[in-house]
Assembly symmetry: C2
Homo-oligomer: 217 residues x 2
């Protein structure tokens, strides 16, 4: 059976975890196709039989690459890093690598899951904003403090790392849920610097094939 040579990313324009992977693919200059999975339409296309066969977690992103299908954004990014190492998204020094992973996990395990679509659906429409704010703010408090000892221009020194790929989509979520960002000057500064980079722009939710016209940049 011939493998398609181009990786296929199953993505939703607004999914912050999909955005992380789109940034990695853009930074590493990997050509790929997008298959849009609309998390709202048809009761959620992630629940289709076809998609469940690709990712039983019924979540985006999933990436078909090198003959396997991977899910979980950080596992995907680590795989890209190991198989397409340039430019690197993890520093060479083990301690700095550990700190990049710590920040990434703080965002990807410590904040994002607590305010994702399925949880917000469970807490009820009237509570969503308060709930999201209540989980994002303590995470950002912690992150702002950690960044005091790791950040340069970006989360870890002056080179873009996996941590930055997690930061920008989470700040976008925070803005969407009207979190007051004024207590987080370092997070805000880094976010702004990153959004100026092309890889963060082409991967932006406002510029995806499945972005609705009214949300297009």
């Amino acid at each position: 059976m011939a493998e398609s040579s181009k990786p296929i990313l199953y993505s939703y324009f607004r999914s912050s975890c999909s955005w992380r992977v789109r940034i990695a693919l853009a930074l590493k200059n990997i050509d790929y196709e997008i298959v849009a999975i609309n998390l709202i339409k048809d009761g959620g296309q992630q629940f289709s039989k076809e998609f469940q066969a690709l990712n039983p977690m019924k979540q985006v992103p999933a990436l078909k690459i090198d003959g396997i299908t991977l899910s979980q954004s950080l596992a995907i990014i680590e795989y890209l890093e190991e198989t397409r190492p340039t430019p690197r998204l993890l520093p060479q020094d083990p301690k700095k690598r550990a700190q990049v992973r710590m920040i990434s996990d703080l965002l990807a395990s410590g904040i994002q899951p607590l305010q994702n679509l399925s949880v917000l659906n469970q807490v009820g429409k009237e509570n969503q904003l308060t709930w999201a704010q209540r989980v994002i703010a303590p995470g950002f408090n912690a992150l702002e403090q950690i960044l005091q000892s790791t950040a340069g221009k970006y989360c870890m020194g002056d080179e873009v790392s996996m941590a930055d790929l997690c930061l920008v989509p989470q700040v976008a979520n925070a803005e969407r849920y009207k979190v007051d960002l004024s207590p987080y000057p370092t997070i805000s500064r880094i976010n702004k610097s990153l959004l100026a980079l092309e890889a963060f722009q082409v991967s932006h939710p406002s510029r995806q094939p499945d972005t609705p016209p009214e949300l297009r940049a």
Copy 2:
């Protein structure tokens, strides 16, 4: 300033994330000290000023090692893997490594955060059991399916990996929240095999310095 030679693990006997790291330390035969952080007593010792300076996320585990303090269990385990590679907790093959990380993240981002102490406190005592079951069951459904193509004796073939370090503590949580495990024969089988290993036994919540007498093995 002299560094203490032994790593210090800030741990709570019942914390599933602390248990992951305790297993890694045991498997890699790393001698360490435990400082117990009681998540319940005194309104939660993780909220003390002293502990917040170590981990601004106010969560266990945190590990002081090699002159740095790390938090986030998977970041800690990856650091141990890079600096103390024997025995390995990630396979050599990049695709298998990716699958181990995918399973680890499914458990560590896709399930555990949704049923941790701070979330359960927010949903209210009367809803805790239902909430925990509702987030663990779909994750285990997905994992059971993924394991069909990855598992041997353990989550990835016949060698213990990081995925197994995440599995066993999550199954313990599932049991605690009375999740029916009969739909997950593969998860149950692997869990049982792992619990027979010494590293999983010495690190068990029932055998920690801070385990209350009535819960001791």
